[in-house]
């Protein structure tokens, strides 16, 4: 379980996060949603310790992150998988090498074991024959899927995804969402996903944290996001006509 308590973060004089508290359970897909610029990426990077913050605490299964030594932090991070918003693939390596990289660094697997494992995860993200391409030769959506494969290859205990399906077509997006949910459940991972895609919210939003103006404006699950009267949530969720219709139908059905 990851617990966040009263997290404050600013850049210079601009306050981005103004006191956020929440927790993320294992085996569940936790979604952070909010408008572009609402601080989702900053929040995730604070969780990972890539950004320092002024106030608050973050703990991983009871271990307070800021109190760990550099070496302990690195040991913890070896159990973390992260999908960056811009994929962050190593551009000097092929796709297969990117995926095998965590195995090479942290396991004693032989070359052929690593290749087998890479095969499995690349198939799982629907990239069965891109092994020898360089990241620069892959499309944005392919890069995203490679980044996901790299994040899950070493069976992480914690998985963070910053907009894992932005830039993907709706079909692949759903495949990726379901994949993330499946492995979260299968390996009992603590998964935290940044998203502004309502489709993902409805597919896999087991816990949803809604950020707005640096605060947690709402928290709940996909089952009750339709029912809430919280104006900032409805504003965000029903900004598209499709979802306005969906809500209409939902309300009519339940009358």
């Amino acid at each position: 379980m990851i617990e966040v308590n009263n997290l404050h973060k600013s850049f210079g004089d601009t306050k981005i996060l103004k006191g956020i508290s929440t927790s993320f359970d294992k085996g569940k897909t936790n979604l952070i949603i909010g408008q572009s610029g609402s601080g989702k990426t900053v929040f995730l990077k604070c969780l990972l310790g890539l950004f320092t913050y002024e106030e608050g605490s973050i703990s991983y299964d009871g271990k307070i992150f800021s109190e760990l030594s550099e070496d302990q932090k690195r040991d913890l991070r070896a159990e973390i998988g992260m999908v960056f918003q811009g994929s962050a693939l190593f551009d000097s390596m092929t796709i297969a090498e990117n995926v095998m990289f965590p195995l090479q660094m942290f396991t004693k697997m032989s070359k052929s074991e690593m290749e087998d494992r890479a095969d499995i995860v690349l198939k799982r993200v629907n990239l069965p024959d891109a092994h020898n391409k360089m990241p620069s030769e892959a499309s944005g959506g392919m890069q995203k899927r490679v980044a996901i494969a790299r994040a899950i290859v070493n069976n992480p205990k914690y998985l963070f995804c910053d907009e894992p399906n932005s830039g993907l077509d709706p079909k692949t997006a759903i495949v990726i969402d379901n994949l993330i949910q499946e492995i979260t459940d299968e390996y009992q991972i603590v998964t935290v996903i940044n998203s502004h895609d309502m489709n993902s919210v409805m597919e896999i939003g087991e816990k949803i944290v809604f950020l707005r103006n640096g605060l947690k404006a709402w928290e709940g699950s996909k089952a009750n996001i339709f029912k809430t009267d919280n104006e900032s949530v409805t504003d965000f969720v029903y900004s598209s006509n499709l979802f306005k219709k969906v809500r209409q139908m939902y309300i009519e059905e339940n009358e």
């Binding site: 690195r74 962050a88 190593f90 551009d91 660094m105 942290f106």
Partner: protein
């Protein structure tokens, strides 16, 4: 104030670079790749510059000696001294600050802006060790490149003096053997080792700690070149004062 801050951060970076080393099997291939990128690929330009600068030094010296009392072997002697003591170690290093330095700053800087360094850190890898240590080790071969430069510089001087008619082959050869002090070679190589470390670490520092996007990568490369050169020139002064002064 900002300079002091940066100097402090530079030394912290060096210390951190040696902590939590990367697995040897991975490190070995990183080192080999950096030897290729930084040393092997620079040999051509080092050879070219050394040969012609050696030639020019010889011609300049010969043209400036019109006093018949000055012995003929002086041309070879002057070429040897300037190539060995300054042109090969210092002058070449300034050029390498441009070539190797901007390569290092821009490749590490690009990794910074595309979050590849964050990706390494999030995996629990000491990114300073992973990125900078192999470059520092690869550049320990830099003195070999400079040795080649010294040889070619003196050879270039010989070609220029013989083919240009400034001195005879025998005079030139006795000149380059005249009053040979082996400590000068030691001094030159001590300098070269220090410069090699600077060439690996100062550009890395500017790439690693850069902020911003692609535009800033370019700016960081320029800043790195300026500071690498300044540090090399200053250290050259200090080392020369200490060892020869």
């Amino acid at each position: 104030m900002k300079y002091l801050h940066n100097i402090g951060r530079y030394f912290l970076m060096i210390a951190e670079m040696f902590r939590k080393p990367t697995k040897w099997s991975v490190m070995r291939s990183l080192i080999l790749k950096d030897i290729d990128d930084l040393i092997i690929s620079s040999l051509g330009i080092i050879a070219f510059i050394s040969f012609f600068v050696g030639g020019v030094v010889t011609i300049q010296t010969a043209l400036n000696i019109d006093n018949p009392l000055i012995p003929k072997y002086l041309v070879g002697f002057a070429t040897r001294q300037s190539v060995l003591l300054e042109f090969a170690p210092t002058f070449t290093s300034i050029i390498m600050a441009g070539k190797v330095g901007s390569f290092i700053t821009s490749s590490i800087g690009t990794m910074r802006v595309t979050e590849q360094i964050d990706a390494l850190e999030v995996m629990g890898i000491n990114s300073l060790n992973y990125l900078i240590f192999p470059k520092a080790i690869a550049l320990m071969l830099y003195p070999f490149a400079i040795a080649i430069g010294m040889f070619l510089g003196i050879l270039g001087g010989m070609a220029a003096s013989v083919f240009g008619g400034y001195s005879t082959l025998t005079d030139y050869i006795s000149g380059i053997q005249y009053e040979f002090d082996t400590f000068h070679v030691t001094y030159a190589f001590i300098k070269t080792f220090v410069f090699a470390f600077i060439l690996a670490t100062v550009p890395s520092f500017y790439g690693y700690y850069m902020k911003g996007g692609a535009l800033e990568v370019g700016k960081a490369s320029t800043t790195a070149f300026v500071w690498t050169s300044v540090v090399i020139i200053l250290l050259n002064y200090i080392i020369t004062g200490m060892l020869l002064g």
